[in-house]
């Protein structure tokens, strides 16, 4: 190594990022019943337990359903906003875009508390509707910013040409604009889904008896019992995430997806 300091710092960084994940996987396969390390024997019993544990399965279905709905809703209202910002002739476009990115700056826990107080307690909304409103609001910045990035790259002259050749605005949108937007919509959708499924701070105060999200259910479980079932559940989540990452990498490249939102 020509740069010993760089190399040492890089090794420390990667150890901190990766080693805990390896430990989760290793613990999941233990035959013992504690989080002791090294694990006592190898077995799949904790995977069996995790897959048979009703609260986790129910919460996983709830989390996925919530993520799909919130993402679809955010794209449905967010894509028109992107079109207005990039193609429309609005005064104060920067201000409008800033407004739609604002959910990224306010701490999620604070938004969760706000929705809990104002919608669940104040307006007597049920916890699923409140979660849906919150998650959709949180996904809006992704829908607006990420789809906007692919729209900004496309030449507006294409749409003008379609209109000039006699296409109706709707036809021009579906045949010209939408195909241009597709990679952006895909990236935004993926990013939103992943963010929504993994979310803790926003969902934390919005849990109900009938509708609970998976990460919060797992947190509660960890706090009560100290056994490897959560490690097994975590390993399953890890496997699913790897599959999604590979799909993301093959289609748009996930460095692109995750690099875009914060710039």
């Amino acid at each position: 190594m020509k740069r010993p300091i760089t190399a040492a710092l890089a090794v420390i960084g990667y150890v901190i990022m990766i080693v805990p994940i390896i430990f989760v996987v290793a613990t999941a396969f233990t035959a013992g019943s504690t989080l002791r390390f090294p694990p006592e024997g190898i077995s799949l019993r904790w995977f069996d337990e995790a897959l048979g544990y009703e609260p986790f399965i129910e919460a996983a279905i709830s989390s996925l359903g919530l993520a799909v709905l919130a993402t679809a809703l955010a794209l449905l209202v967010g894509v028109p906003v992107t079109l207005a910002i990039h193609r429309g002739k609005l005064p104060g476009k920067g201000l409008v875009e800033g407004l739609f990115l604002s959910p990224l700056i306010v701490p999620e826990l604070v938004v969760g508390l706000a929705l809990y107080q104002q919608l669940m307690i104040g307006m007597d909304l049920d916890n699923f509707s409140t979660l849906l409103v919150g998650h959709t609001a949180l996904m809006l910045p992704y829908a607006v910013r990420v789809t906007g990035a692919s729209l900004a790259l496309a030449d507006p002259a294409l749409e003008e040409a379609a209109r000039g050749l006699g296409a109706s605005p709707l036809r021009a949108f579906f045949t010209v604009t939408l195909p241009v937007l597709r990679p952006g919509i895909f990236s935004a959708g993926l990013l939103s889904m992943v963010t929504s499924v993994n979310n803790v701070p926003l969902s934390l105060l919005l849990q109900g008896r009938d509708f609970r999200t998976l990460p919060v259910t797992m947190l509660d479980y960890v706090q009560q019992s100290y056994d490897p079932m959560v490690a097994a559940a975590s390993t399953l989540i890890l496997a699913a995430t790897v599959v999604i990452a590979v799909i993301a990498e093959r289609t748009v490249g996930f460095a692109k997806i995750f690099g875009g939102i914060n710039q």
């Binding site: 890089a10 420390i12 960084g13 990667y14 901190i16 990022m17 080693v19 805990p20 994940i21 430990f23 989760v24 613990t27 989080l35 002791r36 390390f37 809703l73 209202v77 967010g78 028109p80 906003v81 079109l83 207005a84 429309g88 005064p91 409008v96 739609f100 604002s102 701490p107 604070v110 938004v111 508390l113 706000a114 929705l115 107080q117 104002q118 919608l119 104040g122 409103v133 609001a137 809006l140 607006v144 003008e160 992943v194 499924v197 993994n198 701070p201 934390l204 105060l205 990460p215 947190l219 960890v222 890890l238 995430t241 990452a245 993301a248 996930f254 460095a255 995750f258 690099g259 914060n262």
Partner: protein
């Protein structure tokens, strides 16, 4: 409406649409904003503002009274100080570790650097609960690190590692290092490698090249990285909850406690206000530095 009455300014040759149609488009595009705006205002802006200034059954004056108490009470000040202190420590560690990794990933000709970049970014997609849980296995009372220290004969009894500041720092560093790497990476990738070579060719040492060429040119990216990590650390919940517990309360775990366990709205709102102000301060400071950098 005002726009309709004004003569629309026309850079004549490039304009293809007549002015009447132009105004039409403006009205239509405003219409496209409506569903999004309704959701944003009703589902985010109004509740957030109402929570910070008018929670149910609590007069706003009480929140500010509680805020005043918090800023003088030793216990509350300790929580605020711990939050800011830990966030600062994590920010420094993430930049110090993240920048060299980003530099190496951006400049290494090896085809492995693509794999390492993917490995660094992948954790961003993975649940924070899953990532943080690993530290329980490592730092727990029967965890790997304690056992290792005992077996190596460094200590006799495994030390308390969980529910300490160290545990929170490790957990938050793991969480936010990928963000720091991405921000620094895109900054380094934009700097022409020829500049490094030129500096080296002119006799600059490796360290001198780093300090006077690479770091100044990538400063905006480093500032973005630091801002994201700091704001993230101040607001993170899962990590301080699992690794800090009740003995190392941070603003986030304290906020949850006020809102859920003690149902003390005034304290919850005051804590939320402190947290939000901290995040806004750091964001404001960062864009100020960014603007200064851009003009100089």
């Amino acid at each position: 409406m005002v726009r309709l009455l004004e003569p629309v300014p026309q850079p004549v040759p490039s304009k293809r649409t007549p002015p009447r149609k132009d105004a039409d488009i403006s009205r239509k595009s405003a219409f496209l904003l409506v569903p999004g705006l309704v959701l944003l205002v009703a589902g985010f802006l109004i509740p957030s503002a109402a929570m910070l200034f008018a929670p149910p059954d609590v007069p706003a004056s009480e929140i500010f009274a509680r805020l005043g108490e918090m800023l003088t009470d030793p216990y509350d000040l300790e929580v605020i100080g711990r939050t800011v202190g830990l966030a600062l420590a994590v920010t420094i560690i993430c930049v110090v570790l993240g920048f060299p990794i980003a530099y190496w990933l951006a400049r290494s000709p090896s085809r492995w650097s693509g794999v390492f970049l993917a490995v660094a970014i992948f954790p961003l997609m993975l649940s924070n609960v899953v990532r943080t849980f690993g530290w329980l296995v490592i730092l727990g009372s029967k965890g790997a690190l304690g056992q290792l220290l005992v077996q190596l004969g460094i200590v006799e009894v495994a030390p308390q590692l969980l529910y300490t500041k160290l545990a929170i720092i490790l957990g938050l560093t793991q969480l936010f290092l990928p963000l720091a790497i991405i921000s620094c990476y895109s900054a380094v990738a934009q700097v022409d490698p020829g500049l490094d070579d030129a500096s080296r060719g002119l006799g600059g040492s490796r360290i001198r090249t780093m300090w006077s060429i690479v770091i100044p040119l990538t400063m905006p990216g480093i500032v973005v990285a630091a801002t994201l990590v700091f704001a993230g650390s101040v607001t993170a919940y899962t990590t301080p909850y699992l690794l800090g517990g009740s003995s190392q309360r941070m603003l986030s775990t304290q906020l949850f406690n006020y809102a859920s366990t003690t149902v003390d709205w005034a304290s919850a709102s005051a804590t939320a206000l402190i947290m939000t102000v901290l995040v806004f301060l750091i964001s404001g400071l960062s864009s100020l530095i960014g603007r200064k950098g851009a003009t100089s």
